[in-house]
Each structure stands twice: as C-alpha cells, then as structure tokens.
Symmetry: D2
Subunit: 137 residues, 4 copies
Amino acid sequence: MYKYTVTPKFGDIDGLGHVNNTIIPGWFEQARNRIYGYFNPELQFKNWNLILARFEVDFVSQMFYHADVEIHTYVSRIGRSSFEVYQEAWQNGILCTKGKTVLVHFDFKEQKSQAIPQAIRQMLEMHLTSDQTVSVN
Amino acid sequence: MYKYTVTPKFGDIDGLGHVNNTIIPGWFEQARNRIYGYFNPELQFKNWNLILARFEVDFVSQMFYHADVEIHTYVSRIGRSSFEVYQEAWQNGILCTKGKTVLVHFDFKEQKSQAIPQAIRQMLEMHLTSDQTVSVN
Amino acid sequence: MYKYTVTPKFGDIDGLGHVNNTIIPGWFEQARNRIYGYFNPELQFKNWNLILARFEVDFVSQMFYHADVEIHTYVSRIGRSSFEVYQEAWQNGILCTKGKTVLVHFDFKEQKSQAIPQAIRQMLEMHLTSDQTVSVN
Amino acid sequence: MYKYTVTPKFGDIDGLGHVNNTIIPGWFEQARNRIYGYFNPELQFKNWNLILARFEVDFVSQMFYHADVEIHTYVSRIGRSSFEVYQEAWQNGILCTKGKTVLVHFDFKEQKSQAIPQAIRQMLEMHLTSDQTVSVN
C-alpha cells in the first residue's frame, strides 16, 4: 500500500457542500500514477499498454473542502493480464470512499491483452492487500 | 427508459485518443437530471433529498470525439428508500459503456433514509428495466 | 452567430450554489465544436491544426442548476493565421458570462503558424460580430 | 509569491498529448486555496465572502503528463474591495501558462462588495509582485 495526498479545490464541492461523487474517479486515477509508471516508466502515451476495464466506487462518508484527503492504494488481485487496484479515500481520519478499478495489460497494436511481465508483477505484489492491511473491503 | 444525448468536447478525450474514463460518471449524472427532477421538481439544493451511495461503470468499447453519445437511462431496482439506475452510453450504434448507480432518498435534517413516496415510485416505475428493453445487464 | 445549448449537471454547481467558474471554459470549448469542424471536418486528432493561445472570461451574473444555458458563439476577429472567438452564456434571458478565445491555425509538423485558408475564412466570416449582433463586448 | 505543486493526471491530457487548456483554471483555483484561507480561515461555505469576477489565461508552452507542475502565485493588485492574483505554471523549468484572476470581497447577505479588511490586506501584500519577482507579466 502507498499513500498519496490530494487537496480538494473549491470547484470539487457541489451544491450539497461536499465533494461531488464524479470527482473521485479522477482522484483515484491520480493516485494510480505510480502504478502506471511501473508499466510505462516515462509515462509516454505512444507506448501506452494499459486499458481501464471497470471501476466501482462506494461512498461511505462525506468529504469536505477544508482538509486534505489521503488516498491509500493497494493491489487487490493480479491475474495473467489484468489486475485490480483497491483504493480508499480518508479525510480527518475517517474512511470516506473506497473503490476498485480493473486494468488490463494491453497491446494496442495487436489489439489484445497480454501477460503482465514478471518484473512488473513483482512491483504490483509489493502493494498486495492482506487481511492485516485492508480495513474495509 | 429515456434517452439523453451528450456531445463529447475536445478536452473529454485523453492521450489515448478516446473519451477518458473519468468523464463518464458526469455524463451519467447529467442524464439523471430527469430522475432528480422527480424528487426535486425545482432542482433546488436547499430541499435536496437524495444521496448517491455507489456507482459502478464497465467500459466495453471506446468512445471518440467526432460523434454524439446517446445515454439510455433505466431504473433497475426500486427498494423502500433506495433505488438503482442502470445506464448505457451508445455511440455510432455501439454499446460503449454501462453503469449502475445506487441512490437513497434521504432526509438531511434527520440524517436518515426515508421511504420513497408512492407518487415518485410510480414515476420511477415508468423506466423499469425488463428483459425486453435491457440489452446488456 | 450560432447558438448551442448546454445543460448544467449536478456537479457543475459549487458550494455557493451556482455554476463554478472553472466549468465555463469547457462549455465554451464544447460550443466551439462547430468551428473546430471547419478546420477538421472529421474531428480527428492526427491531422489537428489548431492551437489555443489564450482565453479570458468575465463573470457577469450567476448561473444555476435548474435551467439550460444557451451559448452564443461569434467570431470577433480574423487575422492571417489566428482568430478570436467571442462567446456569451445566457440563462433565463440573462447574460451571465462572456469570454474571448484566441486560436491559431498551426502546422504541428513544421511547428509554426500557417495562414487560414480562404475557404475556412469564409466560414468564419459567417459568424463575424457586428454592432448589431453583439450585445456586450 | 508562494509555490504549489500539482501532479497532472492521466485524464488531464487531451488528444493532442498535452494538458488540456480547460484544466488550468482548476489548477490555479487549487493554488489559491491559501489566499481563500486568508478570507475564510475555516474554508466554510456558509460565511463565504469572495466572488470571482474574471480570469484570463495565456498558454505559452505545452505541459505534459510525465512531470509535476509548479504553480507560482502572486498578488498583482490590491484595490479597495477587489484584488488580482497573478499565477504561473512551470514544468521542467519552463514557464508554460500564466493567468490573472480578479476576486472581489463580497457580502452575500447585503449583495454588495465590501472593503478588504486591513489584516487581510497585509497578508495579501506579502505576495505582491515586484519587478524583481515576476518573470513575465
């Protein structure tokens, strides 16, 4: 698991006074930059090799404007070509939002999924969830 | 089911040349305006009575800049106080993205869920999915 | 001048209950799709030939969630290689926001500006502002 | 002047491979959080006392996905009730974008502008531009 801090901005807050739900996928995406870097160390688009297949987000508690949000990022499953990232957003010590994202290692030229290389797999395994680390799942 | 058309804008496209995944929850939210109007005909925030509890989105096929996207909105489940909206995004006759969103009828003053009134329930039921209408679920 | 209608979505509203200022450049961008089509009829990125050099936006009156917004798009200046788009956002018959955007016809391979072709110039001229049409400038 | 670092996220990049222009007002807004805190130390909306009247942004050089962006924030003018913030976005040592935003100290109950209190004025003055500090204006 690794932590990444995001700062809510004024416009992230909606008419109900809390962070709008549509903001969260972007925050989780931002916190996945490190994982994207495992697959594309230069973060260049021309050799990009990941596809986002699915995400789901649960809104547990409201988040507000006045405090930073800490994103906790885990890898919750590693398959042959796909893997799942589990993320939590914490504010003021409260778990506010959690989500899962499925990504696929993809060969855009061949237009098909490809096995995750062993070296990348080992980097992903560093962040694997365990009963000890995941507070909610 | 009802249809709502969105037009991709230049900035919705990401470095891979297709609509970025984080854009979709906003499009689905926009297409739910009609449902929000069942609960709040004036769309005023001071009496707002809905909470978004969860969404999930599956990315089936890419969407691009050059053509409008048609959002199909169904109600896929109606409970006592919560209901689920099922939505599809179609472009050029292809189902590209589908998602489910769970909303809860909520009393913000009492801070608890409340039963969906019968009159609203009937409006939601007009859009209930059936084996005939939902292409994918 | 041509008109384009946008529908505010729930998350476009900020904690002050009105459309957040950062939303407007995206609405104006969306309304410029027609102009982008003059330069790139297929709206394909690989031959894209426009650069956005500058924009400015004045916030005159608040916009809210409950009503559509009509964007009026004019061409306010045409130079050799650059041109300026002037846009207004109206809601409920009130001019709420106005802005100017400078775009440059650009050759990405040569990395330099290029003259606007005559055929495109004529299309732009159809939308030129005049004292009669521009209510505020 | 103070510095604030933002990290581009995947979806901030558009089909041309660089940060989309509509992203910048949000980054500048985020970097103004400190100034907003001078006026509203708790960053609570119910007593909010600022209105954004205008912004302008110049795009000097492209920004990309792979490196952090440093926002430099200055106060470039302080009037009776309004003030102007001047901001620059730097990436890899290159000035990429600069902008000005006009904000007004506003009494929402009375619906009129109000003088900037002396204590806040002094905090704003700490960030005043000078010939020495502003590289471009």
